[in-house]
Amino acid sequence: MKVAIALSMFLISASAAFANDAAVDATIKAFGDAFNKGDMKAAKALHTASPVIVDEVPPHLWTGAKAFDSWGADLGKSEAAEGRSGGKVTMGTPSREVISGNHAYVVVPTTYTFQQKGQTMREAAQMTLALDKDASGAWKIASWTWTGPEAKPVK
């Protein structure tokens, strides 16, 4: 898993000045920070026990207790197969955050940049996260979806 992450560097989050609920934002920021460090164990710990992940990488949907690990593995395979490297995702300030009791919905603008056959590529996208507050009061990511267009060469 760690190898897959190191290869793809799939989710490196820049420090973002999140507004809205500090605790919700802290979980999202910690998610990005964990990826920055390649710390998949910490990143996984920020998710619920059975998260739902939707990404542009096939098979596009991962659910259940192994969702996070399976997604990471599939992402690593895809990046390797497509000759991508040096990927970096920068997460911006949430463009929307709605909280209702122990549930939250957050939309975060993101930019994915990577190298492919010597070309720098860029994909401006959005991540949509659903979070739940657990019994200890900690916000956990129950779901996230990557919504982005085809990457384009950076000129």
Binding site: V52, V54, P58, R96, V98, H103, S143, T145, G148
Partner: protein
């Protein structure tokens, strides 16, 4: 019937006809699903879904999963729109901005605009729907979708 009443009462997702491009099988399922919802035929709509689906929307609790995800999503939508004084809801889909098919899996992004009235004020929310589909013995089925949208704004 109860679900049909919920849908009819809130008109929460009435899809306009769309001209989808890309894989015809994938596009057909999305179109047929949208048409069934538009017609209020939830029984038909559900035939285009996988047995278990995942739905993410900007209505609390924001995520629904499992065999009754669609019904639970609709029920929660109805509660919220009623509580918020929302009426005349309608959602129009555009043409897909991205469609990625990998074997028996598909990922499709469709722009959508949700319009409604709230306490007499016309509201509008441009958003994106991210669909994910799986292909099995019965063909393409929608495994779920995510609504990605900003705060709705008043129409001036």
């Amino acid at each position: 019937m109860k679900s049909l009443m919920l849908l009819t009462g809130t008109l929460l997702l009435a899809f306009a006809p769309i001209a989808l491009a890309g894989d015809t099988g994938v596009d057909a399922v999305i179109r047929q699903f949208a048409d069934a919802l538009h017609a209020g035929d939830l029984k038909m709509a559900k035939t285009f879904l996988a047995k278990r689906v995942a739905i993410v929307d900007d209505t609390a609790p924001y995520y629904w999963g499992g065999t009754n995800a669609m019904e639970n999503w609709l029920a929660d939508r109805d509660k919220e729109t009623t509580a918020d004084g929302v009426s005349d809801g309608d959602a129009e889909l555009g043409e897909p901005t991205r469609e990625k098919v990998s074997g028996n899996h598909a990922y499709v992004i469709v722009p959508a605009t949700y319009t409604y009235k709230q306490k007499g004020m016309a509201m509008r929310q441009p958003a994106q729907l991210t669909y994910f589909l799986n292909k099995g013995a019965a063909g393409w089925k929608i495994a779920g979708w995510t609504w990605t949208g900003p705060e709705p704004a008043a129409v001036h």
